[in-house]
Amino acid sequence: TDVSILTPYISSIPTNEMAQSFKAEGEKRGWNVTIIDTRNDFGQLASRIEDTVNAKASAIVLISTDPAQVQDQVALAHKAGIPVISLDGAKNADVAVNVTSNNFDLGVQLSEELIKSIGGKGNIVKFYHSAHPGVHQRELGLDEVLKKYPDVKIIADHFVKVPGPVDDGRIAMENILRQHGDAIDGVWAAFDDPGIGAELATESEKPDSKLVIMGIDGNAQAVDMIKSCTHYKATLRQDFPKMATVGAEQLEKILAGGKADKDELYVPAVTVTPESLGVTCN
C-alpha cells in the first residue's frame, strides 16, 4: 500500500510533526509512506497530486492545506478512486475526512487567554501570516474576540516573513519595543515562531518588561521558554501526533473498504502554561 503525504509546508514544526507521526503510524500498519513537500508552492503541489494519482497511489494525505486550494487535483484523485484525507486542513466534498483542531477556535481561545492575563484591557502586538489560510482563521478568531473588549488595542502588527519567521519576528519586536516600550502589555502570535522571536527580543531589549507572550502550536522551543518562566506564558498545543493517529485510523478503515466516521473530526488542543508544566513563576 503506497500512501503519499503531500504538503507545501514541511519545514514548519506542526506540519513536520504530523507528517512524521503519520509516517510512523503508517509504517506500523505496513504502508509504504512517502513525504512530498513543495516549498510553499501550490502550483507545484497541484502537479505533485496529479503525479501521485498517475502513479496510482493507494491514498493521499494532505497536510496543512485547504483542499479548496487544489480543488481540481483533489477531485481528480477522488474520481480515480484514490481516497484523500486531510490533516489540519478543511472539510471538502472530495475529501474523505479532515482531522483538525479548529483554527478559528484556536484563535478565539488564544485571544481570550491573552486578554484575561493582561486584565481585560491594554495594548497588544499582533504577529500574523494571513497568506496561510489556517493561520488566517486564527486571526479572524482574534478579531471576533476583540469585539467584546473595546479596551484592548492592537498598537502594532507585523506580517511574519517565511522562511526565517523566528529571526524576522525578533527583529520586528526589537523595533516595536523601541517605539512602544512599556506600553505593550501582550504579544499575540498566530504561531509560535514569531512569539519565540518576540521573547528573544524582549529578553535582550527589555528584560524587566511585564508583557506577556502567547502563541499557538506547542513548539518545543516555546514550551521550553514557558518552563523557564520567561515572558512566554502560554501556547496552545494542537495534538499533532493524535491528529496523525486519528487520521491513520480513519484511513485504515477506508482502505479496508469502509467509510470515515465523519467528514470532520476535531482533536482538541491542550493549553501549555507554566502551571500545566508544573513550575511556579513569580
Binding site: N32, I36, D37, F42, R48, N54, A68, Q71, F159
Partner: protein, 309 residues
C-alpha cells in the same frame, strides 16, 4: 559522438532522462497520458521562463517576475470580487503588469541601472502592492467558472494549459527568431554599444521586452489562479529561480550563451520531467532535491567536459 554531445548536450540529457524514467516506471511514467500531463505541469513555469527569455535576449535580468505572477493572481481575484467581468478583468491585469514592466524597462535602459537591482526593487514594490490588494490573505471564491476553464480541462485530448504553452511558445519564438524586433533584441543583448551606433533604439526595444515579460508573468498568475482556484500573495515565489534555471539550461541547449525559446522549453522540460518522474517513483522530497540538482549539473556539464582548451 562528443561533437554531438557538445552540440545538443542538454536536449540529449532530456531524452536520456525520459528514457530512464520510462524504463524505471513503464506503467506510470512512460504512458502517453502521463507524458501529456507533464506538458501541463511544465506549462506555467515554461511560460514565465519564456518571458524571462526575452529579457535575457536583450542581456538583462528581470527579478520581478515572481512578484508579477503573484500580482496577476491576486489582482484578478480582486477584480472579480469587485464584479468586473472576466474579459475586462484579464485586460486590466495585463495592462497593469505591462505598466510595471514598462517602468522597469525604462529605468534599466534609460539610466543604465543594473537590471538585477532595479528589478529586485520593482519586485519588492509589486509584492507590497499585491499584499495590500489581498490584505496578505489567500483569496478564494468569486472566481467565475468560465475563467477557471481557461486553465482547466482539455481540448482535442490536450490539456488547456498545454495549449497556452504552445501558443505562447510559438508567438515568442516567432517574435525572437523571425520578426525584426527579435533581431534587434539579440543585437542589443550581443553588443549594446555597437547596436546603438548602428541605429538600433535601445530604450523602446528594451522596454517592450520587459513589458512582454511582465505580461506573461501576470498571465501565468491568472492561469495559476484558474488552475488551483485560489490566489496567494506569495503564490509566484516558486517561479523565480526555476524559471531562470530553465532559461540558463536552455542557453546551453542550442545556441551557446544566448537565451532562446526552444532551449528554454528543453530546460523547463528537464525540470518538469525530473519532478514528475521522481514523484512517481516515490522518491522523497529530500532525495528529489539532491537528484534534481545533480541532474541539472550533469546536463550542463555534458557539453563542457572534454571541450578542452
Amino acid at each position: 559522438m562528443t561533437g554531438l554531445a557538445r552540440q545538443y548536450g542538454t536536449l540529449i540529457a532530456l531524452i536520456v532522462i525520459i528514457v530512464a524514467f520510462s524504463i524505471a516506471s513503464p506503467g506510470a511514467f512512460g504512458t502517453a497520458s502521463n507524458l501529456i500531463n507533464i506538458t501541463q505541469q511544465m506549462a506555467l513555469l515554461a511560460i514565465v521562463a519564456i518571458g524571462a527569455t526575452m529579457v535575457m535576449a536583450v542581456g538583462e535580468f528581470d527579478l520581478s517576475t515572481a512578484a508579477l505572477v503573484s500580482f496577476g493572481g491576486i489582482f484578478i481575484v480582486f477584480l472579480f470580487k469587485l464584479g468586473v467581468p472576466t474579459p475586462l478583468a484579464c485586460l486590466i491585469v495585463l495592462a497593469a503588469a505591462g505598466c510595471f514592466g514598462a517602468v522597469s524597462g525604462y529605468i534599466v535602459a534609460k539610466f543604465e541601472v543594473l537590471s538585477f537591482i532595479a528589478t529586485l526593487a520593482a519586485g519588492t514594490i509589486i509584492g507590497g502592492v499585491t499584499f495590500w490588494l489581498s490584505d496578505g490573505a489567500t483569496l478564494f471564491g468569486d472566481i467565475p467558472a468560465g475563467f477557471r476553464d481557461l486553465a482547466r480541462g482539455h481540448a482535442l485530448g490536450i490539456p488547456t494549459l498545454t495549449w497556452w504553452l504552445i501558443g505562447v511558445a510559438i508567438v515568442v519564438w516567432l517574435l525572437l527568431d523571425k520578426v525584426e524586433f527579435g533581431r534587434r533584441l539579440y543585437a542589443i543583448g550581443g553588443n549594446r554599444e555597437a547596436s546603438r551606433l548602428a541605429g538600433v533604439r535601445i530604450v523602446p526595444n528594451t522596454m517592450v521586452a520587459f513589458i512582454l515579460c511582465a505580461m506573461l508573468a501576470a498571465l501565468v498568475g491568472m492561469l495559476l489562479t484558474g488552475r488551483i482556484g485560489s490566489a496567494s500573495p506569495t503564490g509566484g515565489g516558486g517561479y523565480l529561480l526555476s524559471a531562470y534555471a530553465a532559461v540558463f539550461l536552455g542557453m546551453t541547449a542550442f545556441r551557446e550563451g544566448e537565451a532562446n525559446v526552444p532551449g528554454t522549453l528543453v530546460g523547463a522540460g528537464i525540470i518538469a520531467v525530473i519532478g514528475n518522474g521522481l514523484t512517481i517513483l516515490g522518491v522523497s522530497t529530500f532525495l528529489q532535491d539532491i537528484i534534481t540538482g545533480a541532474i541539472i549539473l550533469a546536463a550542463v556539464l555534458v557539453r563542457r567536459i572534454g571541450k578542452g582548451a
